[in-house]
């Protein structure tokens, strides 16, 4: 029995300060926005907060008016990238029209020079680099170029989960990558990471992408391979299931990725642990919306499978 969901598939909703940030953007309250970012030092949390601002529809009108400080430019660049993706929509490429692709490119072509200037002025601007991974993917600048951008970023932040998560998308076959390259990259991220960090989650994301990228019988058996299962467990043990795990703003996505994988693998115990950590009200959009157009339906189907509809 599925309980009527009050769950919001909005990762920011788990953090009151991010809800406040979003309100500040809607209210065009630049002082509040600057103050908020001044208090953030973690690269991944900053990148997430920038994305929260970027996803506020129409924010570009306010951001364009601001005096061109690095933060204002970063937020504008990020907002134009989000706008590009809103035009593209999240559907697979074959369901996106030529006009949508052209509209997407038009926004990205505006965003990219803004971010290029930021990384040129400060080659250590990791957050700007991580948004250049996203713009580069949309502009289809090529695997070599996006990898170069990641390498430039990694000189200053070798363990940025949000950047690595962007690379997971870039390395998928849907963006002209390959499964081999994807898993190799994810494994390297995990191996280099500290126990309890977010980085091993990218191994989970790689397997999730591989699973949803397959069709029919292959998809049915993918998560039953012993090697795949072993790697997913190791990744979870080194991240979400590790006692030191915190996850910053990304914990809902981290638990979500493993909740889906363990649920689909039939690893009841670990799946329950992940669902319990997610609680009753919050979840990220990813990976749930990739299971089903409505993330709530995707979420409910896996959770019911795991908890037997008991809750």
């Amino acid at each position: 029995m599925t309980t009527p969901s009050v769950r919001r598939f909005d990762q920011a909703a788990a953090f009151p300060e991010l809800v406040g940030l979003r309100d500040a953007v809607r209210a065009a309250d630049w002082t509040a926005i600057e103050l908020f970012f001044a208090g953030l030092s973690d690269v991944d949390m900053t990148a997430f907060a920038v994305k929260v601002v970027a996803d506020v529809t129409g924010a570009e009108e306010f951001l364009e008016q601001l005096p061109p400080s690095p933060l204002a430019r970063l937020l504008l660049g990020a907002r134009l990238i989000s706008k590009a993706w809103e035009i593209r929509t999240g559907y697979r490429a074959k369901h996106v029209s030529q006009e949508q692709f052209a509209g997407m490119r038009a926004e990205l072509v505006k965003a990219e020079p803004i971010l290029m200037e930021l990384t040129a002025r400060d080659p250590g601007d990791v957050v700007a680099w991580s948004f250049r991974l996203r713009s580069g993917r949309g502009l289809e600048v090529g695997q070599g170029e996006v990898r170069r951008r990641y390498d430039r970023l990694a000189r200053f932040a070798p363990h940025s989960y949000s950047a690595q998560s962007q690379m997971v998308q870039q390395l998928c076959p849907k963006w002209s990558g390959s499964w081999d390259a994807l898993h190799t990259f994810a494994r390297e991220c995990m191996d280099a990471a500290a126990p309890g960090s977010l980085n091993p989650v990218v191994v989970g994301e790689a397997h999730f992408e591989h699973y949803v990228g397959l069709d029919g019988a292959e998809a049915g058996t993918y998560l039953r391979h012993v090697t795949v299962q072993r790697e997913i467990r190791a990744a979870a043990e080194k991240s979400v299931l590790h006692p030191d795990f915190a996850g910053g703003y990304h914990w809902p996505q981290a638990y979500g990725v493993f909740a889906v994988l363990f649920g689909k693998m039939g690893d009841h115990e670990r799946a329950v642990a992940c669902f319990r950590a997610l609680g009753d009200t919050v979840a990220s959009e990813y990976p749930w919306q990739n299971l089903h157009g409505d993330p709530a339906v995707g979420f409910a189907s896996v959770r019911d499978q795991v908890l037997g509809g008991a809750k």
């Binding site: 290029m116 040129a120 580069g136 600048v141 695997q143 070599g144 170069r148």
Partner: protein, 566 residues
Amino acid sequence: MIKETEISGIRTLIAPGNGPLAAGLVFRVGCADEPLSRRGLTHLVEHLALHRHGLIEHDANAATGITTTHFYTSGSEQAVVSYLTSVCDSLRDLPLERMAAEKTILRTEQANRPHDPLLVWRYGAVGFGAAGYPEWGLELITDDDVREWAATRFTRENAVLWIAGDVPAGLELTLPSGAAHPVPAITSTLPSTPAYFAEGSGKIMLSAIVERSARASLFSMVLERALFRALRTEDGNSYAVAAAYVPRDDEFATITALADALPEKQDAVLGGLLDVLTALRLGRVDADELETLRDKAETYLQRPEAVAAMLFTEAVDILYGRPRRALADFSAELAAVTVEDLREVAVQAMDTMLLQVPRGERADWAGFAEAPMWSEQATTGGEFPSLQKKDFKLILGYEGVSMVSPHGVLTVLYAECVLMQCWPDGARRLIGADGVSVSIEPNVYDVPADTIAGIDELVPDERKAWQPARSPDRIPQRPVPPPPAPAAVPRTPVVRRSRMILLAFGALAVLCLLLAAGSLVDMLTNPDIESTRLWWLTLVFIWIGGYFLIRVVVGLRSLRGPRRKP
């Protein structure tokens, strides 16, 4: 330090040398002065002028550039005098009997020298753009062309002599008198810059037009170093990285740069190069680095060979009509260059930049406009669809020719055609002043010989370059017509069998209908017989007979059907 004088009516620059005697004779003529239909003329004159001098034992050579031709030598007084005298004597009386041989030598030399697409995409097929083409005019060059070119361009007034050392005794040079020639007019095919085009693979190249100054010259060194560090040392994606600064005319210099790349790394080299340019445009140059490069430039000015290089540059400046600058001024200018100066030059470079990216890459995302690849409109005339590619066609008219494709239109009007290459097999290539070219391959477009002959009449002979016959494997072949439909499988047995079935069906139909008629007659003649069963029997016979009759009719129709097809 440099003394300006005149020797045998030729303007002369003299500076004390710090090595063996060196001298050079520079003429204001180069490949940018040649129409495309005479492309190679200056180079040919240069070769002919050196021929009589024979095998040169001392250090002497000549170079044909975009706007200048330079004969230079160093060695004993006697060797220098003998070389320069021989060059001038030859220029007045070129060994025209050597033309055919020298043309062959030039073609061989040409084979190893790629054309320069950056010049063509920026300037078109005239002036500086023509310099970007191979020596496609060689076939058309006549004795008269060579004589006239030597008499009008290799003159006293169009030359400057430079000497590093003392004027050698007995130096008497005789050149005809003529006019000084200004630098060819600057043309442009780029509606806006920065712009990019995609051509070739394995490298990224760029050109930019900047002011002529010490700071611009230093900027090209900064650019090379920044590219080397980013693309080679840090990214490890390029092997060859280079940048250069070359004066173009009295006012501007051309900065060029190149970075090579493996096919799978082309995108990363392009991205890395664009990031370097952005950083320079924003003035991100380390002050220490500026000092290092300034030292390098100053050291270069003190090397022995720098005197000859400076004399040559100043000789060229006289020919360009640019006021001469003392070396001391240049050194002072160099010493004063700041990071802000470099940023200003970088902005100039960015604003005028033309970028060549490998095929398949784009640079629109970095603010570069796509350089125009297509003509604005097609001409009118007869249409010749491609036999190879759907939606491709040639239009051959009285005004010009067009190639129409789904991607765009290429048009060359005869009035603007600067060269038409002609092959004996009927193929033609027309090149317009804007650099657009249209190829007519009679086998690909099914163009009759009289149409080709018609075009030949509309293009003046002096722009038609007849090419040697192509080897058969280089001539595109007419597409093989679709194979004839496979030989029909003998239909007869099938037909016979269906006929036999039809015959059997027909017989059955007749039999049943006869039986039906029989039972009907029986019923009518013996009305007392219990009739229901007979009625049934009659109906059954009619049904069965009718069924077979219909089969026969349908069968006959389908038999007739296939015979209509050819």
